[in-house]
């Protein structure tokens, strides 16, 4: 019975084809300081599974598109630029993702990455209306 029906091994961090496994792959270690966490995300991206890369790309696409519409409360133009630059590094780590859908996603992310300047201008205008706060929230 064991031979015929092995229970699937449950490893919390294994790259996997089920939702919880993919989430484990895209979850940052909150125990690390913020800078190290961001660096770890850049370093980890190329080793992630295709599904995790796709989720990362869509996450960045959504956040960056939002930033183009206007920054989170308290964000300076510089912080918006930094976020775009860091996102570009994570996206570069995900370029090896396979699949037609993933490539379509990648081209959409590239389109929005090219709008970094525009987002910074919007952030500058917003900052003039309300001065930035240090350590504002993530989008």
């Amino acid at each position: 019975m064991t031979l015929l029906c092995p229970a699937a091994p449950v490893s919390l961090n294994a790259p996997a084809h089920y939702a919880a496994g993919i989430v484990a792959e895209v979850t940052d270690d909150k125990a690390l300081p913020k800078a190290a966490r961001k660096a770890a995300q850049v370093a980890h991206a190329p080793t992630a599974s295709d599904a995790a890369k796709a989720v990362k790309l869509a996450d960045k696409l959504h956040n960056l598109t939002d930033l183009c519409g206007g920054p989170p409360v308290g964000w300076s133009a510089d912080r918006v630029r930094e976020y775009f630059a860091w996102s570009a590094r994570v996206v570069d780590g995900c370029r090896s993702v396979r699949g037609v859908a993933a490539q379509a996603l990648l081209s959409r992310v590239d389109d929005v990455l090219a709008r970094a300047g525009e987002a910074a201008v919007v952030a500058e205008a917003a900052a003039k209306a309300a001065p930035p706060v240090e350590g504002g929230a993530a989008p």
Partner: protein, 190 residues
């Protein structure tokens, strides 16, 4: 010209009558049919068991209803987990907007894989809420292993029934061989 004996074409009916009389004379009791019978039975049992073993697994692979259920359960789970959070924009919209938006972007790009879409819904639950990786595994963990465990006793019984009665058991309802029930963890409400 028409010399009768050597060149005359033989009446084909003669062959038939000859063969019939030969088979009538043949002693069929001397032929041992057991090896052939064993072989044919083996092939039949083997093919039936392979079919019965594979069928529940194929049904459990990815029924569309289970896909829809998985994605919607993930959305509902994420909505509860993020219920106290807002987006950090001036509008202060509910946070669930982000996971839903990420999943929608994947679907728009052409992703149809349910676990990937569910993972997009759930991608910030562990990082930003009280949900732990173990909580998530309990509800959205490996589906295949559980399906096989659920399907297995039925495989054995179907096999026995099929072999003994020579009948094919009715096809099990797809839902029963599908993924485990997705139960939303109420502790994530806080």
């Amino acid at each position: 010209m028409c010399n009768s004996t050597s060149t005359r074409v033989r009446d084909p009916r003669a062959y038939v009558s000859e063969a019939t009389s030969l088979s009538a004379k043949m002693d069929t009791s001397a032929i041992d049919v057991r090896p052939t019978a064993f072989f044919m039975t083996g092939v039949a049992v083997g093919a039936t068991s392979l079919y019965l073993l594979w069928r529940p697994r194929a049904a459990a692979a990815a029924p569309p209803a289970a896909d829809v259920s998985l994605v919607l359960s993930a959305a509902a789970y994420a909505a509860i987990a993020h219920r106290a959070q807002k987006r950090k924009h001036a509008l202060q919209s509910p946070y669930i907007e982000h996971p839903l938006g990420v999943a929608a972007l994947l679907a728009e790009a052409g992703f149809t894989d349910a676990p990937t879409l569910a993972a997009a819904m759930l991608h910030d639950t562990v990082e930003d809420t009280a949900v732990s990786p173990a909580d998530l595994h309990a509800t959205f963990g490996p589906v295949v292993g559980t399906c096989l465990l659920v399907a297995h006793p039925r495989c054995v019984s179907s096999l026995l029934v099929g072999m003994c009665a020579g009948l094919c058991p009715p096809r099990p309802a797809p839902n029963r061989a599908g993924p485990p029930q997705l139960v939303i963890d109420r502790s994530a409400r806080t």
